[in-house]
Subunit: 389 residues, 2 copies
């Protein structure tokens, strides 16, 4: 078991009636607030008006940057950071899902630095300072509301890179499950797949870890399996939206990986898919994950699949471990592709064989694929891609 | 489901090789360190020398206050706070279990105030400021290393009162499981009972809450049930000590109660026992908890016992809920009194019937017994006491 440091300084306001704290949370950091959001759905839902009203009530000065893309682009980060510098912004308020929050994080870092923001991602330039960030979450998926990471895309170079720094933790996040009532069935499904994948990446790790955290991960996965279908059937079910929302934060805020390596497998591979094809992250993960599990199943790894199958899906514990393992992959596939209704193959989403070698080669850069269920080389990833066709 | 605010700003260094961070953590807060500890077991184990050496290496000035009692007394708090004021202490370093850390918390508060420290407890005087606290945990039990609470006793008035304030969160806590290798079997057992009870108090609550947190609580309880016997059998088992240690923090740091009321039942009752009899807190809880569960079992509450029995103890889910419920109480009693080897009755620990009315009456002060499995009045508590004889 590895030593670890636990530190999650984010304050979370969870529930329906927490909005009244927004002005006070922003005011802690200054007067000039940059409101950052995406394509404008927050105007249709009325959330925009509520936010503006709270900002006015608190006598703060409002600036705006909208149009953050899904798979947010480095150019948006550059422009937002420029605006922060020009207007001497004090605090960033990101309203949206992971893309908006991730973009805000690197705007906040770039606003306090002289380098190009892409240097934080590509060259791993350390984030020495960042403007404070407050978030209002509208999509349960990436967990960016409670972690120190951000993923930014560079369409020019077809790169999609994850960065992290303790300076990027939001100061406060507002998690009101009713703000996800209007999330489409497709995005709800992709979000659920994303949460599930964050847990699976950490859970399927052959290092000795804390049993207590395995139990918690199993609970998170059971939660997603139980409530994602409820949210799809009944989008305004508070209990379902609340469970998915809090699970999204805890699946990736760092708690569950205590004692084990933080290295993941499917995420770095998926980033290469969405860097070229711009598909939704959760969808790419759903297609990849069961194939990766199938590819990595062997005598050395089977015990973890057995634990997963019996404890998350309730498969009969008296069956042979290998039988349980295969059954668990089937049930996970069924969850992604039948229950959540996500497309199940590369062919359906237009990912082509001609890019396999290139994407697999890029995914292998660095040492990220050395851990988890076992080391993966370029040829392994290409084989996993073949299984996804 | 209630709204809630989540905020746990404690930094935790977990593992065997984290000690090197101690000097740096203390130095953040100043030069003058008050080392607080109990009866001197840390000198026998060598931990004292290690701590002093780190403090010297970091060029800090060391002061000491030792002799904190189990069920720490307000008089120790007064003396420690006085020393902080006289010597202009910058930071408190509590090395020990919950008693030492709780005492340090109220020393830290009283050092920044003019009132008598007992006012924080008895009169609920707000803690406006407190000196920073760093802890090194040597006993997995109370969770004080990661929460904002402290329990202080006043032997003159036979009061034992819990207080809390966000100002009392330790800044950093060092959790090295090897520091609990020398904990006696009896204290290991009492600690396990304490952790178990913290979870049970939160879990047995008939309000609608987050399913995800129920799963996590079940995981915490499974962890204690699995590893407490291992730690008793094999005191230097790292995995067992690590799981118990991290479980102790998460059983009470506030995370698991998100969405439900924080009101507890057995703890306020037990505090009346140990206020008069000075028994170990975990032992009192172990004796009380199964009787409280038995007393509160009815048609309205049975579903929670059923969930507990099937998911924590693996009782056959096809049995009648009431049968599962009774069986779950039996298994919990067996865990406390056979597996952990704790005494099972008031008679064995010398608690006498003549004090029942008085203790029950005091436990009912305030509204703390209105929640959980249902409201309890003085006569209910007296009946629970009778069951403990």
């Amino acid at each position: 078991m590895r030593d670890f440091i636990y530190e999650i300084p984010v304050k979370v306001y969870f529930g329906r009636e927490q909005f009244g704290h927004l002005g006070q949370e922003l005011s802690r950091h200054g007067k000039k607030v940059l409101l950052i959001y995406g394509g404008g759905s927050i105007k249709r839902t009325g959330l925009y008006d509520k936010v503006v009203s709270e900002i006015e009530k608190a006598d703060l000065k409002l600036y705006e940057y909208s149009g953050i893309e899904p798979n947010p682009r480095i150019d948006s980060v550059r422009k937002g950071a420029q605006l922060c510098k020009e207007e001497h912004i004090d605090v960033l308020l990101a309203v949206g899902g992971g893309s908006t929050i991730d973009a805000a994080k690197y705007m906040a870092a770039a606003a306090c630095a002289d380098c190009d923001p892409w240097d934080f991602l590509e060259k791993k330039a350390p984030v020495k300072e960042a403007l404070p960030i407050v978030t209002i979450l509208t999509l349960a998926a990436t967990g960016s509301e409670m972690d120190a990471c951000g993923v930014i895309s560079n369409p020019e170079t077809h790169d999609k890179i994850v960065g992290m720094s303790p300076k990027l933790f939001p100061k406060a996040s507002f998690l009101d499950p009713t703000n996800t009532y209007t999330v489409s069935a497709y995005q709800t499904a992709c979000g659920a797949a994303d949460i599930m994948s964050h847990v699976i990446e950490t859970y399927f790790n052959m290092e000795d870890g804390l049993y207590m955290l395995d139990c918690f991960m199993e609970g998170l996965m059971q939660t997603v399996v139980k409530f994602a279908p409820v949210a799809l059937r009944d989008p305004e079910n508070y209990e379902a939206r609340a469970n998915l929302m809090w699970a999204s934060s805890w699946a990736i805020n760092g708690f569950i990986s205590g004692g084990r390596s933080h290295l993941w497998s499917c995420h770095p591979i998926e980033h290469e898919l969405s860097a070229i094809y711009d598909i939704t992250h959760g969808l790419g993960l759903a297609i990849l994950t069961p194939r990766w599990m199938e590819y990595c199943l062997n005598e050395r790894t089977v015990s973890k699949y057995y634990q997963f199958g019996t404890r998350v899906f309730g498969i009969d514990a008296s069956l042979e471990p290998m039988t349980v393992a295969r059954k668990s992959i089937e049930l996970l596939s069924e969850f992604f592709f039948k229950t959540l209704g996500l497309k199940s193959t590369f062919t359906e989403v237009g990912i082509q064989k001609k890019d396999f070698a290139h994407m697999a080669q890029k995914a292998c850069e660095g040492d990220v694929l050395q851990s988890g269920l076992g080391p993966l080389k370029q040829e392994d990833i290409e084989k996993i891609f073949e299984m996804c066709l």
